[in-house]
């Protein structure tokens, strides 16, 4: 029988250990858990009323950017919730682009003509790459809306068309929430679909389901056997994002974006405090190890 297990599920002594090689990627929980929609598969249970993790202030962002620079950070990812809900979203992206390449993970619903043009201006005005990733979980409303909410397909695809109109080519991020999306043809079909939305240089990224957060109610959580307790070979360790990235919120630095709600995944307030080996004792670690999940683009 499968059941939802709260994190973590292994003791530190039994779990596999991952060293820390250096801070390549800094994830920033810009909007906290606030989102304009409440996807049924959301692994960190974000939504319009979810304010348990607060938005990040400009002061906190500045502190993190300066510390990350000293640590030799390579790139930044803004996530949420919906990062574009942050009242200073564009100023935040502009500031971050001065430090390094920046990725924005968005549901695209707030990208109107004006927002698309502002993103294009930021793209053109920076020597570093600005990459927008738009989450879309189907090629039709019938496939997408049951997961992301009624009317979201129309709103998301409209946002993508606005980006296409200004010559930006977002990465469409697809969660494999249905069997059809796990087929090998799904990727090429999605690329064709992206072209039909006006994207001349389409890119797609498929992500496996994470059986935590709200997804545990849509289907089920991880089972008791979904654990990583063996010592991992070096070639597997090299693929794990937690060897070179951290997630920062307003209050904490955590192991990774999946573990936002795991209190014992908090490694400190500063990045420097977080630069140490971690143990894969959480159920979600199973997906990264077994399915090769990387949240990076």
């Amino acid at each position: 029988m499968r059941e939802h297990r709260l994190l973590p599920i292994l003791t530190e002594e039994r779990a596999a250990t991952v060293p820390f090689f250096g801070l390549d990627t800094l994830w920033l929980q810009l909007a906290g858990t606030l989102c304009n929609i409440a996807c049924r598969h959301c692994f960190i249970t974000c939504g319009p009323k979810e304010d348990r993790v607060p938005m990040m202030t400009r002061a906190r962002l500045e502190e993190l950017l300066l510390e990350a620079r000293e640590l030799g950070v390579k790139e930044f990812y803004f996530t949420g919730g919906e990062p574009m809900l942050h009242p200073e979203f564009f100023a935040v992206v502009e500031r971050t682009l001065k430090e390094g390449p920046t990725h924005v993970l968005t549901n695209g619903m707030l990208i109107d003509e004006s927002a698309a043009q502002r993103l294009r201006d930021l793209f053109d005005g920076s020597r570093y790459s600005l990459d927008v990733r738009v989450s879309l979980d189907g090629m039709t409303a019938e496939e997408n809306d049951p997961v992301r909410g009624r009317g979201t397909f129309a709103a998301i695809t409209q946002g993508i068309r606005h980006l296409a109109a200004v010559g930006l080519s977002p990465v469409l991020t697809v969660v494999e929430h249905a069997d059809a999306l796990r087929l090998s043809e799904a990727r090429s079909e999605f690329l064709r679909f992206a072209r039909s939305l006006g994207l001349a240089q389409p890119r797609v990224k498929f992500l496996p389901l994470l059986r935590i957060g709200r997804e545990t109610r849509r289907t089920h959580g991880y089972g008791t056997g979904d654990v990583v307790h063996e010592p991992l070979p070096p070639e597997v360790i090299r693929t794990l994002q937690c060897n070179s990235s951290r997630l920062a919120t307003q209050a904490h630095v955590l192991v990774c974006p999946l573990l936002l709600d795991a209190p014992d995944a908090q490694l400190g307030r500063t990045l420097t405090e977080s630069l140490r080996p971690i143990s894969l004792r959480w159920s979600a670690c199973h997906t990264c190890v077994e399915e090769g999940l990387s949240c990076r683009t």
Partner: protein, 278 residues
């Protein structure tokens, strides 16, 4: 010129002997006294065995790329670092061709190539790597390599100058002097165009001050060493004909003929991809 020494550095030959000869001729004409190749001799183009004698005859110092390691050890794939199925499809075709057409007698040569090169030029510590100093198949793109990250790589490898290839698109970064300075150059690849709509290919010339003590005392490497990225034309139409004669993918031929990439597109960051056609 008398106070400088001039060094030519290129990468990614990809079996393109026409480009290789053109670059070596150009470097000689420009007065380069040393020539370095940062690896990936095979892949993409035709008839790999033609590359080795040229490199040996003309005294090029060569290091090992991921392709050379894989072919030399007869591994199952090129370890290029692609993640997209379409990119991997073409990578497999390319690798299978080069593997089948590389004579056994060259495998020990490929295996023996050094994985990196260290030099001291004009008092500056120079580290040459294929992808990055920490990973042979890491892509260092201009738009996705922050100053902070590049400075970290330089410090971690005790270097003032870092020279890399692997991405196929050249760039130069001079790190701010107030942050310790430093110079990073991706020399591009000579085996195929740089997705810029030009059929010519790119390599780098470095002019190094010959009075190290004075130069090092006054200037960081980022300021003291001049870098020129040179675009060299060669008989690309002949290459197209040879590729077709060898039944290599028409997509590869199109890249040679137009200067735009038709494969390896998924690895391109948004900025670099937008400069291309596909």
């Amino acid at each position: 010129m008398s106070h400088l020494s001039r060094v030519a550095v290129f990468g990614g030959v990809y079996n393109n002997t026409g480009a290789l000869s053109a670059v070596l001729d150009d470097a000689q004409a420009q007065g380069a006294t040393e020539v370095y190749c940062l690896g990936d001799l095979g892949g993409f183009g035709p008839l790999p065995d033609r590359v080795f004698p040229i490199l040996l005859d003309r005294g090029v110092t060569v290091m090992q790329g991921n392709y050379d390691h894989s072919i030399g050890h007869q591994l199952a794939d090129c370890a290029c670092g692609y993640s997209d199925p379409r990119d991997n499809h073409y990578a497999r075709l390319s690798y299978a061709y080069t593997q089948a057409k590389t004579s056994q007698r060259w495998l020990p040569y490929l295996r023996a190539l050094p994985p990196f090169l260290r030099r001291e030029w004009g008092g500056y510590r120079v580290h040459m790597a294929h992808g990055s100093p920490r990973q042979v198949n890491e892509f260092l793109w201009e738009s996705t390599s922050s100053d902070a990250f590049l400075r970290r790589l330089l410090r971690a490898h005790d270097a003032d100058v870092l020279l890399v290839t692997h991405t196929g698109i050249p760039w130069v970064r001079r790190l701010p002097a107030e942050q310790g300075g430093g110079l990073v150059v991706n020399v591009g690849a000579i085996g195929r165009p740089a997705n810029d709509g030009r059929t010519g290919i790119w390599y780098a010339l470095l002019d190094i001050p010959s009075k190290p003590a004075q130069a090092a005392a006054l200037l960081s490497a980022g300021s003291a060493i001049a870098v020129t990225l040179r675009c060299v034309d060669y008989d690309h139409e002949r290459l197209c004909a040879e590729m077709r004669a060898e039944s290599l993918p028409e997509e590869f031929v199109e890249t040679v003929a137009t200067g735009y990439w038709t494969t390896c597109l998924e690895i391109l960051p948004a900025k670099e991809r937008l400069r291309g056609k596909f």
